[in-house]
Amino acid sequence: MSDKYDPLEPLELLPDAVEGYCDLETGKCVTSPLSADDKS
């Protein structure tokens, strides 16, 4: 498994696609683009 997920080159991220996500650090789920309220 480790070989499979260790790409030699960084992923090309497609951030324009994001409508919302749950943050891995805080566990908070926010709508994108982030509003000031979401960050509270």
Partner: protein, 216 residues
Amino acid sequence: MAAQTDKLHIDVWADVACPYCYVGKQRLKTAISRSGHQEEIELELHTFELDATAPKEPAEIASYTAQKMGVSRERALEMDRRVKGMADQDGLPYETERIHANSFDALRLLQLAKQHGVANELMSRLQRSLFSGRRDTYDHAAMTASAVDLGIPEDEVRTVLAGDQFAAQVRRDQQAALRLGATGVPFVVLAGRYGVPGAGTVQSYADAIRTAWENR
């Protein structure tokens, strides 16, 4: 990297309790079904424990979120209603009055389901149960029934839920996502090259699939 085959491999990291994973996976599946390459796309689920501090005993989600994030309960509900709006548009049941609990046992069970080739199906069932407002989603009896219904031998399910089997695999999945630079879930990687962090629209997933398909 995904193996070099004619097929397009799509990896998805998600947690049962993650509302955007619930919405995002449905949209990704819709995009796959419309891609014209449905039979040539492999969708592989990976687990990610979003909230390791979640209680074993179910708590009411809005109150839990409010306390954890330091916001009012009404504010927590308001944020959740935004996701409900997305789910409603996609025809997914979504109750803001639902439970939240530790999902680690469910994620371990999903690792067993993966061995039986039904991880995506079990994830869909668990999420539909949770977000429909069922309070017994994480109960071992309910999870056992769902897993057995998908063809996983009951003795294997009971053994997993009674112990800590697959805990290491859950952790490894998590570390793999972090190594790839994931900062949120759902986290989708297409052809081992293109990453979509967070829930996209059906169109954005379709665009990503097209790009990955042409460059796989």
